[in-house]
Amino acid sequence: MNQVIDPRSVDRPNSYIGKSVPRPNAKKLVEGRGQYVDDIVLPRMVHAAFVRSPHAHAKILRIDGADALEVPGVLRVFTGADLAAHCEPWVATLAHLKGMKSAPQLPLPLARATWAGEAVAAVVAESRGVAEDALAGVWVDYEPLPAAVDMETALASSTPVIHPELGDNLCFQRVNESGKIDDAFRSAHKVVEATFHSGRHTGVTLEPRSILADYNRASAKLTVYHSTQAPHMMQGVFAKHMRLPEGDVRVICTDVGGSYGIKVHVYPDEVAVAAIARIMGRPVKFIADRLESFSTDIHARDHRIKGRMAVDAEGRITAIDIDDLTGIGPYSVYPRTSAVEGNQVVNLVGGPYDFANFRAKTTVVLQNKTPTCQYRAVGHPIATAVTEGLVDLAAEALGLDPVELRRRNLMRDDTYPRTSPAGMKFEGLSHIKSLDTLLGMIDYQGLRAEQERLRAKGIHRGIGFASFIELTNPSPFMYGIGGARISAQDGCTVRIDPDGSVMAATGVTEQGQGTEAIIRQIVAEAVGVPIGEVRVLTGDTLTTPYGGGTWACRGAGIGGESALQAGLAVKEATLRVAGAMLQASPDALDLVNGEIIERKSGQSRMPLAELARIVYFRGDTLPPDLPRELMQTRHFITKAYPFAFTNGVQACWLEVDVDTGVVTLLKHWCVEDCGRIINPLLVDEQVRGGIVQGLGGALYEHCVYSPEGQLLVGSLADYLVPMAAEMPDIEVGHVETPTKESLLGAKGAGEAGTAGAPAAVMNAINDALRPFGAKVFAQPFTPERILSALGKVPSRWPVEAPARSATEPGSASASASAATAPASEEPRDLGFLARLFGRKG
């Protein structure tokens, strides 16, 4: 059976796994013939617009929609109380995250707004324009309350408690510890430390959050067209919280214009739309505008991490100790919860390295800002930046090349399976081989020589490295064990139709990654038909097997394996029928390229279409007891490991203009081991796209708030996402270490790029700035922050003291106070300068 996915079989007839096959659904997209939720128009459809709180924290004293109802075309105004009668509140906690707490949340709040942008009332009208016109006619009397904005003071006694019933603003805290951490630091040869910040940023899907909910009273069924990654999960959420039988809810997910984790959460305004549809008994559409996207899409990565690392005289890492603080907004987000990002940080720090003593603490606090939750590479970019930043500091302290220090400390490729100090179980990784592959791509010595030569001319270039691990294919240990109805398994149904073509319906979903393309490749190869004969169906809870959808890179690893197994089962069933028809043993036959062949001679015996014709239309000619199930379903779940892990290494080559602080990216490399590669063309673009999202967070993207909790970046003119001109070419290399959990061996590739990119950029900037003794550890690395690290502009926030990277044993705490928080309340990022002046060429 293993030959099915042996890459050496790539040149067999109809072998597609491992080949760069274009996506079958791309042609409609390049012709503008995709169908996103906003493209769907239903009879009697109406539109919702939301009144949103202008205050970060305020009592809602009164809502009066009478004037809005006077606007021609306005049909209804809804308040929190109106919808609460039709909706059960939710509390986003997970039982296995011990001590976690959060407050109940409703589609619209009853008494208090807890972040600026929270929906407090809805207007429904015959068009979106009219609904927005009427928002001005909804009068809301607010009593502004003091806001808890700065996460650093969230737990201070002087800070208002956002939900008094919780007692304080602490959502979750966890310490992950192993070995003898204090002894290790006491006996260290060198200790390095720094305080890192990963700026709060967000996903910016170009297609905003979109929902069209239709409740049909006659059939008592709710149909929701939803731009989501997890239709089955949303089916369960709508059913549970609107008190409908799950079978009466259908979620349909047509084309999705980008997701990156943003569209896997439950948003109160979207539940409000479903509730309004139920009340009004007609289709209700809501498409977030860009300001609504910035103020209500989940944010992420708002972390401050104090980190230190101990090394011995031989350059071996002996201990890592981190203290992570993250502010998640006023509510943990349902149903994944907002504690998972911090939990990932304490699970992933130090991940690539072989060391014994570990302590990682995360403190997750509530605040009056937009809620945060899982965004592409959840926690990984943070953990990797901290780890790799400390590794580079240690290399500097020891006078070692950063590559050499990594080589001495990376887990060796022949030491698996093993468990990390953080408790992560690794089945098989390839850090050393990946590093060697990367070094084969970059001409490291050449770059160092160029760096040296250009420094003499006042041009400052740097190279930065980042090794990383990435958690994929989560088992129920991620969410299910904590009580969340989030499926870790997935399924695929494969059916042969009378013309010999094949339909595959899968529970994993497509948001542009190429899910449908890889399912098609896998099914075509498993069944044995030309790839053009396979159609793939995704994104409909009524017609696809139950599954978790696409997140955590599980499309290939989980969805792909279920497709492979279903395809093989269909082939087996087909050959059984063929054996009866041809009076041969099924084992002596094979199905290749849509033909039943004799396995030994390769001679064609019968087209698959002929077999299908007989089965469907002349079943009378087959032996009466012969099973003829040309449709098979298989489900897959990982069993041996709680998570799969991928690994890789990135390098970034850039130039820092020390007069303007502008960073120009020159080149970026990534070597990734995602296990079995199903489609190199798709994997490479997943890696590149992920890297650019990581680069955006590292250099430009920042959800900046005022001290009062007002989001200061509400449009794409204010919030900078990477553009083509400032991004470098990205070279991608591969190592393949398939997982043995599945026949397919795929682990997933969607988040690795994002996981490693910020760390590589940070290390490259600090490498460029080395002659000046200046360092930056707070993302985004804006021109202003770089200039203030260089002492060229006054800093508007305390920054790392220059040239402090190493301390002698026992004096570790002496310099710790130098690192304090960059105020999240800085008045305005100067990142736009990079946009204006940072162009290459």
């Binding site: 042609k27 996103y36 324009g129 673009e685 083509a724």
Partner: protein
């Protein structure tokens, strides 16, 4: 409430007459009044380029142009240029190179790429990146898009030279 305006124009080669609100943006006119859903609304601030269409041969932001100003104009959208086959080579290159993931930015990106190749038949990678910078793509990281446009430029000049 607002004064409506009668306009007659050519959209994708077809004569169209409509009465529009003065505030109606071109992108909403195309999507809501004409059912041309291939152009997308991304930021409504003229930044992201997802709503890029052609007016009288030039690419514009559909979210910054008022439909009322287009009496007598010629408008082309992704549906129109797909039907005529004008940018088929670019579309094929985007598919072959996987330069389109979620597809939301793609129609605008293609029209901008077509405009670039009209004005500069042999752009460098840097020139391609610069020209496409008014069209945001959040999925691909741009590298594949630059490759696809570069490939088409080469193909076209190869044909022209042959």
């Amino acid at each position: 409430m607002s004064s409506d305006i009668d306009i007659s124009l050519t959209v994708n080669g077809e004569r169209v007459s409509r009465r529009v609100e003065a505030r109606r943006h071109l992108i909403d006119f195309l999507r809501l009044d004409l059912g041309l859903m291939g152009s997308h609304t991304g930021c409504e601030h003229g930044v992201c380029g997802a709503c890029t269409v052609r007016v009288d041969g030039n690419i514009v932001r559909g979210c910054l142009v008022l439909a009322a100003a287009l009496d007598g104009a010629t408008v082309e959208t992704i549906e129109g240029v797909s039907d005529t086959g004008e940018i088929r080579d670019l579309q094929e290159a985007f598919v072959a190179r996987n330069a389109c993931q979620c597809g939301y930015c793609t129609p605008g990106m293609l029209l901008t790429a077509a405009a670039l190749l009209k004005s500069n038949a042999q752009p460098t990678r840097e020139e391609i990146r610069e020209y496409l910078s008014g069209n945001y793509c959040r999925c691909t990281g741009y590298h594949a898009i630059v490759d696809a446009v570069e490939t088409v430029a080469r193909q076209r000049s190869g044909k022209a030279g042959a």
